[in-house]
């Protein structure tokens, strides 16, 4: 196919490089490496390296390296195999046998699919996208354990209605919200529960009626108490020094925001808050 060009360049250039090739004499004549076969065929056809360069456009340096079977100095196996194929086509040789011979030294290119090496993330990836499955599973397991633990502790300290009361409290706190703000400003006496209580806020030492509760505040704390009818009998945030008697029908549900600052008495009996306290918040029932 390239006969015209080839015969043209035959006379002009083939003479100079040929001695260089023979002088090099690296590959013995009987060598059958792809490079040697290509070189022999080219020389037998009386063509110079520049003839090859002119057609296949790989540089003379690369073609010489191929003829020396010096694949390391050629750019990658795809290029080497392509070069051999083009060179063989130029010389009208069968490329398949040469490529098969090439295989051990230059294997069929193994694609390297890998992200380019980097020096760490420029931006933290989202946890959903990148977190490995194992980490997600572990996190889910821990969450599950925590939930079971919480359920167990709530179940042991509170009654079945505790979840309800929680929801009620959350809902009702909006309604009651103004009172805690107002209460400390007005004074120690909580106005909200005034109806249920005698006016004995000042008379701290007087013992409460039997069945009643007495609450003493060593420091500011939030509190909510419901009686057996689920009615809120005492609620609000009170400053230190407040002493309050609470009337109502037992059992009481007590919820104290800062258990360490509050002492609770049932009649003359002091109630130990410790067993009911989790992270400063005490929730318990009083018979």
């Amino acid at each position: 196919m390239t006969e015209v060009r080839v015969t043209d360049s035959l006379d002009t250039e083939s003479i100079e490089p040929a001695p260089a090739e023979t002088a090099e004499g690296v590959a013995p004549v009987e060598s059958n490496t792809p490079g040697a076969v290509l070189r022999r065929t080219r020389e037998a056809r009386g063509q110079s390296i520049s003839d090859v360069v002119q057609v296949i456009r790989f540089s003379a340096r690369q073609i010489e390296a191929l003829e020396r079977d010096d694949y390391a100095s050629l750019p990658g196996s795809t290029a080497v195999r392509g070069l051999v194929r083009n060179y063989a086509k130029f010389l009208k040789l069968d490329a398949t046998s040469l490529l098969a011979q090439l295989e051990p030294a230059v294997p069929v290119p193994e694609a390297d699919v890998r992200p380019p090496t980097n020096m760490g993330e420029a931006e933290q990836p989202g946890i959903v996208e990148r977190a490995p499955l194992k980490m997600i599973a572990a996190a889910a397991g821990i969450l599950l354990l925590a939930l079971v633990g919480y359920w167990y502790s709530v179940g042991s300290s509170g009654d079945a209605g505790s979840t309800n009361s929680l929801r009620d409290a959350a809902g009702r706190s909006d309604v009651v919200a103004p009172s805690p703000v107002v209460a400390p400003a007005v004074g120690p006496a909580p106005p909200v529960v005034a109806e249920n209580e005698p006016e004995n806020a000042g008379a701290a030492s007087s013992p409460p009626p039997s069945g009643g509760l007495r609450i003493e505040f060593d420091d500011r704390s939030w509190i909510e108490i419901r009686d057996a009818t689920q009615k809120v009998v005492f609620v609000g945030e009170y400053p230190a020094g407040t002493r309050q008697n609470v009337e109502g029908k037992a059992p009481f549900q007590v919820w104290i925001g800062r258990a360490s600052a509050v002492r609770v008495f049932m009649g003359e009996r002091s109630i130990d808050l410790k067993p009911h306290t989790r992270e400063e918040v005490a929730r318990f029932n009083l018979e």
Partner: protein, 347 residues
């Protein structure tokens, strides 16, 4: 979360959904399906004319131009993108069923699917949707030049420029790749189909003969050439003489085919030259050293590498097994899918 379970039931697939051929690579097995992207649909008569799939792939391709009225032979992809959404979906479903061994569960594999680099958002969405419709649980898109370069064994992740020219049935994709990303990508809607059309119109113009698509493809494969060679090959072709309306035989030579192909080939050359013009100089130097790599069915056109070498002055090499480069490349991306996300295209 149940990926480990799913892998027992469905193998992940990489699909080269091409205009001319669809290839499927199954994880761990390699390319297992290579069929023409052709569907034959039988339209039944009656008041509620039901459509059933008559044949898909190779069998359907033989029906092109030989079909009766009740059978429609459709190539659902055109210019590298979906032209008929429902038929594409059905075709994919059939192909996926063929490569899926387990009959107990309906396949729901993860799929990597190739998209032309120049395809629009709408076209990509259509390809994604059709794969989902065909039963994929997740669909990843990969741009064809990237897949072709990986399949050709180019060092896509290195800091060297690699240029790949993938000539498919509908599109020619030109990509310059470095550091795992596309530095330049362009796709022109010229490919094997345009070559066939050019041959058909050349014969019609110069011989007054009408030939079918399959005949044109045969001519291209047997005596098609992109560069004038010393030897002239000839081939006998039959067609319908338009003046007489009678089938006739005539002989066409490789030089005539070359002349017929000059117009679409020029567009390919122009696309390559445009890419080289817009390639940064450092990468250009790498390409001059390593050569530009041809993949896709078009790379098998005789002496196309020679034409591009002459036109660009650069070494041009044809990849090993160019027809399957894109499928193998996306397959290799599939094998390592869990480790890398950066090579995938967005919608």
């Amino acid at each position: 979360m149940f990926g480990f379970l799913r892998s027992y039931f469905s193998n992940d697939l990489a699909i080269d959904l091409g205009t001319a051929n669809t290839l499927i690579y199954v994880r761990g097995k390699g390319v297992v399906l290579d069929e023409p992207s052709v569907v034959a649909i039988r339209i039944e008569g009656g008041p509620n004319a039901k459509k059933t799939i008559q044949a898909v792939g190779r069998e359907a391709k033989t029906m092109i131009g030989r079909n009766p009225k009740e059978i429609q032979v459709i190539r659902p992809l055109k210019d590298g993108v979906i032209a008929d959404f429902t038929v594409t979906e059905q075709m994919l479903k059939q192909f996926i069923k063929r490569v899926h061994e387990s009959r107990l569960f309906s396949p729901s594999p993860r799929i990597i699917i190739c998209v032309p680099s120049g395809s629009t958002q709408v076209e990509r969405r259509a390809i994604r949707e059709s794969a989902l419709g065909a039963g994929a649980s997740q669909v990843y898109l990969i741009e064809e030049p990237m897949a072709a370069a990986i399949g050709a064994g180019l060092p896509v992740s290195d800091a060297t420029g690699s240029m790949v020219v993938d000539i498919g049935g509908g599109t020619t994709e030109v990509g310059v790749i470095s550091l795992g990303g596309m530095v330049y990508a362009n796709s022109v809607r010229v490919g094997g189909d345009k070559f066939d059309e050019a041959i058909i119109s050349y014969i019609s113009r110069n011989y007054g003969m009408q030939i079918g698509d399959n005949s044109a493809e045969n001519i291209k494969k047997q005596i098609g050439s992109a560069f004038p060679g010393a030897e002239v090959r000839e081939m006998e072709v039959s067609g319908i003489n338009r003046a007489e309306g009678i089938p006739r035989k005539f002989t066409i030579s490789s030089n005539e085919v070359l002349e017929a192909l000059s117009e679409p080939l020029n567009q390919v050359v122009k696309a390559v030259k445009d890419a080289l013009e817009k390639t940064p100089p450092e990468l250009g130097a790498d390409i001059a050293e390593r050569g530009l790599v041809l993949t896709g069915g078009g790379a098998l056109l005789h002496d196309l590498d020679r034409l591009l070498t002459e036109e660009t002055g650069l070494p041009v090499i044809v990849a090993d097994d160019p027809l399957t480069c894109v499928a193998r490349g996306s397959g290799l991306a599939l094998e390592k899918m869990d480790k890398l996300g950066s090579i995938f295209a967005t919608e």
